[in-house]
Each structure stands twice: as structure tokens, then as C-alpha cells.
């Protein structure tokens, strides 16, 4: 094989790679669009009026997750499954956002921490790498941390909306999450930075709970505090 042939050969590899990336980018753009729609839907929970509508909003979000499933299904066809990490950067960001949204829906519905299995199931993907297109653990964790920060905002807005109960439940939830994260040894990477942000979320929620406590507004929650 001559040098020229060899380079043509390699060039073949490279353009195939670029084509794949182009295809992936397109699907990912669609996913980002859907993610933004789900977010808009869920944003209403921060509005005073939005609190009663949580169940219906969650239901609608669940519907949109079907679109997500279809889109991810499409994404999977774009590249060989065992090369997940070769193209990881392309969908990493949106997968974290979608994990956040799934975790937020699950929290709003049940006040539980979504498991990796549940996220995978909502998004129509796998937990274990060997089984196919999966949810990377660090992306799952990042998504959960985005939710934590959304919850600190929710705690604040709950008070504005007159719901003095929710902040205490959020506080319990976030504290447990914080205990979980403390078990991890993170590298100096974006996830670590996000985790540092969790401390501020915990702090903010603690301040809300404090404000309620000193005003005796947290009392009623004592009875219903065991969620």
C-alpha cells in the first residue's frame, strides 16, 4: 500500500467519523429542544399558582419524555454502541439536563430520589455499559446536583406561595443527598465543582427552614414531617 493510499484510507476513517458526529449533533439538538420544553413546563412549579398543577405538569412532562425516548432511540442508531465514550462529549451535557428533569419530575411526584435505574428507564437507556447506550454515573450524579439547586429555589418559592411544609421536606431530602455525596471521592473536575455548589444549596435551604422555625411557621410540619 503506497503512502498516498494509506492516507486516503485514514482519511476514510476520519470523514466517516465526522459524518457520525454531524448526525449525532443534529439529534442532540432535537433533544436539547425537548429538554427546554420540559423545563419550561416544570418551571411553573415555582409560581404561586403552579403548586396545585404539579401532578398535571408532571404528567405532561412524562409525555414529553416519550419524545425524548424516541429521540435517544434515534441517537443510538447513529454510532456503534461500543464506542459510546468516543462521542460522549456530544450528549453528555443534554443527558445531564435530562437526568435533572427526570429527577425533578420523580421528586415532584414522590419526593424520592430518582435511582439510576429509574432515569435509565425514563430515558429508555441502560444502566450498565455492557448492555448498550447507558447513563454514565458521573452524568447521573451531575443531573442530581442540578436538581438539588432547583430544589433550593423551590424551597424559597414554596414559602412565597405560602407552603411552609415543603421546605422542611426538601431540607430532609437534600440533607440525605448531601450525606450520599460526602461518601464520594471526586476528582478536580466539573462534577466536583457542581458538588461544591450543593453545599450552598443545603445552606440556602437551612436558612429557609431557620426563617420558618423562628417564626413558628415550621410547627405544623412536625406532624406531617415524616412524609
Amino acid at each position: 500500500m503506497s503512502v498516498t493510499e494509506m492516507f486516503s484510507h485514514i482519511q476514510g476513517f476520519l470523514s466517516a467519523d465526522q459524518d457520525i458526529r454531524e448526525e449525532i449533533r443534529k439529534v442532540v439538538q432535537g433533544l436539547e429542544q425537548t429538554a427546554r420544553e420540559i423545563l419550561t413546563l416544570l418551571q411553573s412549579v415555582h409560581q404561586p399558582s403552579g403548586f396545585k398543577e404539579i401532578p398535571s405538569k408532571c404528567a405532561k412532562a412524562r409525555d414529553l419524555f416519550c419524545t425524548v425516548k424516541t429521540q435517544i432511540g434515534d441517537l443510538k442508531t447513529k454510532f456503534p454502541v461500543e464506542q459510546y465514550y468516543r462521542f460522549h462529549e456530544h450528549w453528555r451535557f443534554v443527558l445531564q439536563r435530562l437526568t435533572f428533569l427526570a429527577a425533578f419530575v420523580v421528586y415532584l411526584e414522590s419526593e424520592n430520589l430518582v435511582t439510576r435505574e429509574e432515569v435509565a428507564q425514563i430515558l429508555g437507556i441502560e444502566v450498565v455499559r455492557e448492555k448498550g447506550f447507558h447513563l454514565d454515573i458521573e452524568d447521573y450524579l451531575a443531573g442530581v446536583l442540578i436538581m438539588a439547586s432547583e430544589l433550593s429555589r423551590l424551597a424559597v418559592n414554596s414559602v412565597t406561595a405560602g407552603d411552609y411544609n415543603r421546605p422542611l421536606r426538601i431540607s430532609n431530602f437534600i440533607n440525605e443527598l448531601d450525606s450520599g455525596f460526602r461518601l464520594l471521592n471526586l476528582k478536580n473536575d466539573p462534577l466536583r465543582k457542581r458538588y461544591d455548589g450543593l453545599k450552598y444549596d443545603v445552606k440556602k435551604i437551612e436558612e429557609v427552614v431557620y426563617d420558618l422555625s423562628i417564626r413558628g411557621l415550621a410547627k405544623e410540619s412536625e406532624s406531617s414531617g415524616d412524609k
Binding site: 430532609n172 443545603v202 445552606k203 437551612e206 436558612e207 431557620y210
Partner: protein, 268 residues
């Protein structure tokens, strides 16, 4: 290999003979450098994990156990530093300094963090170095013993340089800031004020040194100042929100809340 050298026509030349010695010397040095880099990476990783472990102190009922586990981990790190010292036996420590400085700085960060949690004070360079003294065991490392029966070979010491100490302490302030924010989140209102006092002292210390220290220190000053700002802001917020309720009520409020939030068990 030896066979080839025999064959080389020019091997009789004194120049080539000299360069064969140089080859040996250079390779030996590079190999040592490489070994030190690897040990340093191990030291970094273990020290970082110790720091993460120490952050868990606030969340467990039995602080002492965590501290003991951290102590144990650091003992392991010290053994690794012992390996560094072993490699440096008879060498000029500064010749290989670049190979192991990241690890040592991280160790200083970890050990000073543990020390702060225990004693609420800054560990001194002397205290750190005092624990880096190694006695050679009977069946010691054969590589080390091959160096011959030099007098005093039984005791080996490692000296952290003042600048590695400073750089480690500068990084410590970041961990202290994290600890402070966590404390507030855990409803612990004493620790933040203590920490702000302590951080302010370190900050003033670094300002005093200013740009007379090594360049890397001045580079970290900005981050240090940011950490101090975050801690001061946290104390400010604690004070402001505390202002809305008379002091004697505060305790009651906290009592009832502690009962309320089960996982909310602060250090002290």
C-alpha cells in the same frame, strides 16, 4: 547488549567510553525521577481521599473514628513519603523536587486539615517534618540497604520545604471554606465564626508575605481571598438572620429543630 558494545568499532575510543558512563548516569537519574513522579501521584491521590474522608466528619456520629481512619490513611501516605526519602537518600533533594512537589503539597493540605479539625490550629512546618522521620526496620528495603553500611543509615528524614508548606496551607484554605459552608448547612453556628477567624489569620499571614515568596504562592492569593470572602459572607448571613430573634430564643429554636431533622447532627 554487552555483545553489541564489544562489536562497535569505536568502542576503544576514550570519548565513547566516557559517554557510556554518561549514558548510565543520565538513565539512572531519569529512572529515579520517573519513580518519584509515580510515588508522588500515589501520595496525591491518597491525600485527596483523606481530605474527602475528613469532610465526612460533620455527618457521622462518631467523629473520632473518622479522624482515626484519616490518621491511618495519612500513615500510609507517610510510608510513601518514606519511599521518596529512600529514593533521595544521599541525593540533593532539590534536584528531584519538581517530581514530588505536587504530592507533598497535597499531603500538607491533608495533614493540616486533620490537624485543624483536631486542634483548631495551624500545624507548623516543624510538626509536619517531625512526623517524617523514618527508622529502618530490620529486614528493610533491600534496595536501600544495598547502599552500604553508612553510619546513621538507620534514621531517614524528609524535609518539606517552606514553599511546599505554604502552598499546601494555601490549598487548605479552600477546604476550610468548604467546611464552613457545610457547617452552616448543618445548622452548626459556631464553626463558621471560628473558621472565619482562623482563615483571616492565614489570609493576613499570606498578605504579610505578599510577593516575597515563590511565584506560585502569589498566584494562589487570589483564590485564598475569594475563600475568605465566602466565609465572611457566611458569617455575615448567620449574624444577620440571628439578629431577628433574641439570643435566648435561639437555643430553643435549635433544640426543637434538631429533634425535627434527624440527619442534622453537626459536629459541635
Amino acid at each position: 547488549d554487552a555483545a553489541r558494545e564489544q562489536d562497535t568499532g569505536s568502542c576503544s575510543s576514550p570519548v565513547v567510553a566516557a559517554f557510556k558512563v554518561f549514558q548510565q548516569e543520565l538513565d539512572t537519574k531519569h529512572d529515579k525521577y520517573e519513580r518519584l513522579v509515580k510515588i508522588s501521584r500515589d501520595i496525591t491521590i491518597e491525600s485527596k481521599r483523606t481530605i474527602f474522608l475528613l469532610h465526612r466528619v460533620a455527618n457521622v456520629p462518631n467523629t473520632e473514628e473518622v479522624l482515626k481512619e484519616a490518621e491511618l490513611k495519612l500513615e500510609g501516605v507517610r510510608q510513601k513519603i518514606g519511599q521518596v526519602a529512600e529514593e533521595l537518600r544521599g541525593e540533593d533533594i532539590h534536584q528531584f523536587h519538581r517530581a514530588f512537589t505536587p504530592g507533598i503539597q497535597e499531603y500538607v493540605e491533608a495533614v493540616s486539615f486533620l490537624h485543624y479539625i483536631r486542634h483548631r490550629s495551624l500545624i507548623s512546618l516543624e510538626e509536619i517534618n517531625a512526623r517524617l522521620v523514618y527508622m529502618r526496620a530490620e529486614g528493610g528495603d533491600p534496595k536501600a540497604s544495598a547502599e552500604g553500611p553508612a553510619p546513621g543509615a538507620q534514621v531517614l528524614t524528609f524535609h518539606v520545604t517552606p514553599s511546599d508548606y505554604l502552598l499546601g496551607v494555601a490549598d487548605l484554605t479552600g477546604e476550610l471554606m468548604r467546611m464552613c459552608i457545610s457547617s452552616v448547612g448543618n445548622g452548626d453556628i459556631d464553626t463558621p465564626f471560628q473558621l472565619s477567624q482562623f482563615l483571616r489569620q492565614i489570609h493576613d499571614g499570606f498578605s504579610y508575605i505578599g510577593n516575597t515568596g515563590p511565584y506560585e504562592v502569589s498566584k494562589k492569593l487570589h483564590t485564598l481571598r475569594q475563600s475568605l470572602g465566602k466565609v465572611e459572607d457566611a458569617c455575615y448571613a448567620l449574624h444577620v438572620r440571628g439578629s431577628e430573634i433574641p439570643k435566648h430564643m435561639l437555643a430553643d429554636v435549635f433544640c426543637s429543630r434538631t429533634a425535627l431533622l434527624d440527619s442534622d447532627e453537626g459536629v459541635a
